[in-house]
Amino acid sequence: MKFFNLFKKEVRELLTIQTIMTMLISLLAFYSIGNLMGGVVDDLEEKATEITICDFDNTEFTQGIMDTMRAAKATVKTVELKSDDYVAELKELGLTELIVIPEGFTDMIMNQNKLGEIQYFSTLDTLSTSGTISKAGSLAGVEIIQDAVKKTLLLEKYNCADERLLETSVIVNETTIVGDKSAQASATELSGYATMQGIFVPIVIFILILYASQMIISAISTEKIDKTLETLLSAPVSRISVLSAKMLAAAVVAALNAIVYMFGFRYFMDGMVGGTVEGSSDLGAIIAELGLKLQSTDYIFLGIQMFLTILIALSASLILGALAKDVKSAQSLIMPIMFLAMIPYMLTMFVDIATLSPVVRTVIYAIPFTHTFTAIDNIIFAKDALFWGGVAYQLVVLCLCMYFAVRIFTSDKIFTISLSFGKKGKKRNAGAAE
């Protein structure tokens, strides 16, 4: 009985309205993200069944291959190219992947006893995994061509049933296009490298946002709860000085963290991935040629974005910290920032935001942190308008947050507002009674 009383008291202490609200908001956030991702995955799966082919050979054999593809429930679209500049043609036709079967393909296999050669063009324009998923259709198409040739050679030409006898049936010349540049390299390998960069940086950003926010919320709320803020603000020092010192100190510590993380990231990329890349032919040179490797200036741009995000997190945290009534409420106040960071963090890992519906895209872009999570994607793929637009938007949000933070700090509100989740709810004037 005594244990039950103790247990009941502990549950009551822990299961507050803040905790329940946090759980409900988490549930809603995950449900929304899940729904959004589900929709995107459906679209991608649909796209993944699309195979675009330019058949210069146009023989019974190549038509048969395409029939096999259709039988595998793929949507086969054939296009005609007017020039030899396939990269330019691909762009003009608005395609992201294309398989080109050259003239004489059938003849080479059937009559000249040579390996068939096809060309596979694909564009790399995002670091999210959706980019890889969307290429699944064309890659499956390449496999179908290889299988068809293999079967034809084995069964019709050599009358042999063991597929292992033929290791290579068709040479696939892969060309990957990144912006205006293209190179003879596998898009899968390249996107593997690019994705490594795209995964690590958002983790750093996510940690930094939470770290900086927690730091300032706890600094403000502790000063408020301990009343050291009252002591300080009644001393001959301007409130703006107190506010600026707090912001600057938190920004310096967060920036130090950012620098440490960025160095760690560089070592990680140079060590783990760099070694692998350098070990595999001249893929490293291709990565550099295509601009998939971050350059020193890119790190500066990324640093600007990260610093802006930290400043936004800090200024928003100043407002949230001012709402703290006690230690418990101070701990809960990080939640809005955590959700606003988590949503773009999770989405950008899996989805290219630019491919979402306009309404959803606007909502996601309205979260200022989104622009930092997409920064590395925007830098690598030269989406300058999105990058600098994001920076401009973040500056506006920063100014707004700072305006409200200064308003709160330079008025009575710093002492009178607090966020209460009790029966009375809403904001209340703490200290009004006394």
Binding site: K227, T228, A235, P236, S411, N429, G431, A433, E434
Partner: protein, 245 residues
Amino acid sequence: MINVLEVRQLSKKYTKVLAADKVSFDVKKGEIFALIGPNGAGKTTTIRMIATLITPTEGDALVNGFSIIKDSAKVRENITYLPDEAGAYKTMTGKGYLEFMAGIFTTDAIIAKEYIAFATEICGLGDRLKDKISSYSRGMIRKLLLSRAVMTKPALAILDEPTSGLDIINALEIRKMIKTLASQGMSFLISSHNMLEIEYVSDRVGIISKGKLLIVGNTQELKEKYNAVNLEEVFERVVTDHEVL
């Protein structure tokens, strides 16, 4: 005698509550003035307005001739404020805290040293000043904060419940210290709901209830006027009379 503080019709209205309603009183040089009243009477609101932390809805107060509304920066140079149940920066040592606060009040290193020496002398913490504040008892923190509040020898020291959390011996020491400093010319505005303490330490008291300052006077005069044995009885009778009226 010169008025260090002149409070004129000071009011503060929150959304629904009139926390201070046209409060007026003066504090003279070297005087200990106490605002007494129950919890929620409006003491802290009045004190916070004088300390320039919150802005009055109506009225004004002058500290050494400077308006709390128009010259708040100048007012802050003439006052120090010790909030009720205030804490200190736990990561600092006691000495570090005094140095930090001295640096807030002056940029002159010699003057800062004088402030620190004075605070070290009156706080009585000795070698413990070298320890982290996180290791201090509540009483030790209060002593440190009180010494900080008077180390600059301000024209007006505003102390909200100065002896809260202190044991009898420590509380007595603090009261003696306040009286000694007042005799040297420092003025004090003290808020407390401990009427017996106020009776011992203050020169004049102001009884405040529900935001209104009901009466101001010398402790002895008030006791005679209300035929009361102590300040608690005076308070009870003043509040009852006010409610009847």
